[in-house]
Symmetry: C2
Subunit: 220 residues, 2 copies
DNA sequence: AAATAAATTTAGACAAAACTAAAAAATAGT
DNA sequence: ACTATTTTTTAGTTTTGTCTAAATTTATTT
């Protein structure tokens, strides 16, 4: 695996993200995303095409090649592992981690990242609930479903919370639920739609219908 | 505190290190240290002079200004904290940490570094026994003395081991002594010059004269 | 389908950081 | 004191990544 400059990596990552929405990425879109000028984008597209990371014919937009996607997943792996580290170990809040990880992600030392992964206990999702690619670049495609739709006895990872008020956060903290928590539903009660939830091997506890409706879990 | 490019930082750090030996640093010395050409050094010296980090008159060599020294200490703080992290948390060996820290040190985010420092428990020395500047850029000037010369009941930090053979390392590991370990001498026996050593509040244990002669501690 | 607008690319310039080759200053040797 | 040598600097290029302004292609509208 070759090495790419910080600038090249930022382009590759931005293209990867834009591809998730539209399948063809345009010059203007990318310029806006990277806060740069369309002319600069065209210059870089030529370079990335020459390095076979990109399929690109002029005026036609572009997509990453398989190789380009692999490189993107490597960058995203580094970014999300650092985000996890910052939140979990250094106690940054979830809204602060992205900016710092933007810099750390460009340190490309495979041993560093694999040892960091191990130190962190091979986390599956970052503090925003986005999945972390593994050492081989495999990423779990997970769809988010509401906790109310999770089948009984099927473990899932908390991916996001729709309401971001301090009231819900206080409750979640009390119940020891945060993004990345792996849990399962042990029982549902039809009377009030409350449910018994279990985290790992700890004793199960109850959460209300209202709370469950605001929790989304990742399903693979 | 302004921000400097990776290249500028590498020059500043190299000048700082060379200044410890000679007090005037020359163009050729610096070019050799950075594996670059003298002409490139001259170019950069002009730039750093313009930024008031350097005292420099042409053909006269150069020294960092007070401001330049402050910047250097910031870089060294980052470098050594990352080295400590890599060795202590990620289980890199002491000879692997330098290279990786060379990259990590250029991520200049004060909050990141201060939180890392806290997470690591405010270590005083890196895995090579070199002191780590604090958040204000203060560095403890410590001189290394042989463990045989450490006064009784005075704690000191292990800074280096003169013999690097696997035999001594095996013994040190068994006694739970490594670089950075804080210890004190509780008693010396004149008969064989062996001594009783204590680490923290653990029970004291004995080390031989031969071992003590190869251990150097930092004294402030 | 021609005219206009929008998006994209080209051409040329610039800044940072490096290099080579040549010139200038300092040091050393006789 | 005058060469010769070493060190340092200058001048001119190169590469990477950016930019502006102009040209070109594609898309839209009437």
């Amino acid at each position: 695996m070759l090495n790419y400059s910080t600038s090249e990596e930022n382009y590759i990552k931005a293209i990867y993200h834009l591809q998730q929405m539209d399948d063809m990425v345009t010059t203007n879109e990318l310029a806006a995303e990277l806060k740069t000028k369309p002319a600069s984008v065209t210059d870089m597209m030529k370079k990335l095409k020459a390095k076979k990371l990109l399929n690109y014919e002029r005026y036609q937009g572009f997509r990453l090649t398989n190789e380009g996607n692999k490189v993107a997943l490597g960058i995203i792996r580094r970014h999300r592992l650092w985000e996890y580290f910052l939140a979990e170990k250094l106690k940054f809040t979830w809204d602060e981690v992205h900016e710092v990880a933007e810099d750390l992600e460009h340190v490309t030392n495979k041993k560093l990242i694999d040892k960091l992964d191990e130190f962190l206990g091979f986390p599956r999702v970052d503090p925003h609930g986005d999945p972390i690619p593994d050492a081989n670049g495999k990423i779990e495609i997970m769809k988010k479903i509401c906790l109310t739709e999770l089948p009984l006895n099927k473990t899932a990872i908390v991916g996001s919370v729709s309401d971001q008020s301090s009231k819900i956060l206080e409750l979640l903290e009390h119940k020891n639920i945060s993004i990345g928590t792996r849990l399962e539903i042990k029982k549902r009660f039809e009377f009030d739609n409350s449910m018994e939830v279990r985290i790992g091997r700890q004793p199960a506890f109850t959460i209300s219908k209202q709370l469950a409706e605001n929790i989304f879990v990742l399903n693979n």
